[in-house]
Amino acid sequence: MAATIVFIVLAAVLIGAALGVITSRNPVHSALFLVLAFVTSAGLWLLLEAEFLALILVLVYVGAVMVLFLFVVMMLDINTATLRQGFVRYAPLGVVVAVIVLLEIGYVVWTQKLGVTFGTPVPHAATFSNTRELGNLIYTTYVYPFEIAAVILLVGIVAAISLTLRRRAGTRTQDPAKQVRVSAKRGRIRIVKMPTQGGQAE
């Protein structure tokens, strides 16, 4: 009963946030609506006893990905008028993509081909560790897909860095190791004995 109410509230907020992402005029507001959508879907996953996935969703997407997203959106001087120009031209393509996605979801859910079943899930015991179960699956049954995904991500990182890393002539960089190794006694400063002029300085 209570869980149903929580589900309905979270689902309503999630749909509202998702609408906010595509309808708000300010890109920063859109990004913030996306954050709200992530947090509410994490709440939905918590209801399904998938606490590891829910917290990782908040940790990775809300805590890292969206922060960098906001970082970029806030820094860029985006002209929203030029962005909205092509709306009518691209709308048919968008509709086609949306319909295909909907059909795919419908296929998976209604035909129940991929092991999707309806019914109330059986609650686990309090000692059940979602994290341990997930770890067991990832590192035994699905170890190859998991490793391949990891390598693809690594390739992505290396590619992104190598595309943007350019050595220009004339840039100056510091070598912190050298800075640390500096010794004041070896020629960095020279202590000179000066004869005083006599008497106390004023």
């Binding site: 913030l32 590891f52 908040v58 940790l59 809300v62 890292a64 922060v67 970082f71 994290t131 912190p176």
Partner: protein
């Protein structure tokens, strides 16, 4: 008198289980929040006094005996000030940002074990919960900087966003070390697995990770020497320049609550939490000093206070890092060290290195 008590007990038992749970949780939240806010108030006083002594001056000592009422005077002053909204500021986000900061700083306390069995929520994935909430805290800083519609606030927000995201990775890796050693994400379980004697604390096998955790914690809370987000000599006061009155107090409260949280976590995850450092000294048991070996909230508090003292000590001792040095330290020093140490730790677990991994 006893009939009133009896009636109360009857009333309690007549409540549905859901109500009982809700009321008990609310009572627990109040029981954590009030001492925490008081601790924050006195931490600000302690900071001013201790740094004062370190710099050979006196510090605030006028309000009440030894200045003990100074925090209340400060709070009263801040509450009476007007909350000024800058022109063209985004009103909603401007006022939401301090709330996000303070809410995430307080909510994380739900899974901190104060003593044996004294914990608000013995959650299964408590460690992850704390990481998730601390990563959410960045939003308070970013939104305040953006919503203020001010260059200085925005620069401060950008700096701290980059800094917090970078150090979260090192911090997360350090906590993975704890997770590997204790084989649990439940914080209560992590403390229990450090029982035995002082040698079982994870600070010994995970010493590099502990140092990295503590330094990352200082960087995460934007404290000196990592306080470029509010570097007053460069960008006035950083992300909270435009805030005044209660809204500013909320940021202040959040920063200090986060400091206490980091210290409490350093205690629970690496230094045996509420276990006594003298635990396992059997010859003390019969003597009048036997109570020193007992587990108690006092030990938790003492260890936490020590780390809080370190926070203040760092602030009084170290000059501020340059921004590129901060980034270098996070990405090029801390992250490689954690990765290497995690591999060594994995090896130690495989060969069942006593006494920690046997």
């Amino acid at each position: 008198m006893s009939s009133v008590l009896h009636n109360l007990v009857m009333f309690w038992q007549a409540l549905p289980a859901g109500w009982q749970l809700t009321l008990r949780s609310l009572a627990g939240i109040v029981a954590i929040m009030l001492p925490l806010i008081l601790a924050v108030a006195y931490l600000t006083l302690a900071e001013r006094r201790i740094i004062g002594f370190m710099q050979v001056r006196i510090g605030p000592n006028r309000v009440g005996p030894w200045g003990l009422f100074q925090p209340f005077a400060d709070v009263l002053k801040l509450m009476l000030k007007e909350v000024i909204l800058p022109t063209n500021a985004n009103r909603f986000l401007f006022l939401t940002a301090p709330i996000i900061s303070i809410a995430t700083a307080f909510a994380a306390w739900a899974v901190v074990p104060f003593s044996k069995g004294v914990i608000l929520s013995d959650a299964n994935a408590g460690l992850l919960y704390i990481l998730a909430l601390s990563s959410f805290g960045v939003y308070g800083v970013i939104l305040s900087g953006w919503a203020s519609n001010s260059k200085y606030a925005f620069l401060g927000a950008m700096r701290s966003a980059a800094q917090m995201v970078s150090y979260e990775i090192a911090m997360g890796f350090a906590l993975v070390g704890v997770l590997l050693a204790s084989q649990s994400l439940n914080i209560n379980q992590i403390v229990l697995s450090q029982g035995g004697n002082i040698g079982h604390w994870y600070i010994w096998p995970l010493l590099p990770l502990f140092v990295i955790y503590l330094v990352s914690g200082v960087a995460e809370t934007n404290r000196a020497p990592f306080d470029v987000a509010e570097g007053e000599s460069e960008i006035v006061a950083g992300f909270h320049v435009e805030y005044s009155g209660t809204a500013f107090a909320a940021f202040f409260l959040a920063e200090y609550a986060n400091m206490i949280l980091i210290s409490a976590l350093a205690t629970t995850l690496f230094c045996g939490g509420w276990f006594s450092p003298l635990q396992g000294w059997a010859w003390l048991a019969g003597t009048p000093l036997g109570f020193l070996t007992h587990t108690s909230f006092i030990w938790f508090a003492i260890k936490t206070c020590f780390f809080l003292y370190c926070f203040l000590w760092f602030r009084a001792t170290f000059p501020r890092y340059r921004y590129d040095q901060i980034m270098r330290l996070g990405w090029k020093v801390f992250i490689p060290i954690t990765v290497v140490w995690l591999m060594l730790e994995g090896l130690a677990i495989v060969i069942k290195l006593p006494p920690w991994f046997a």
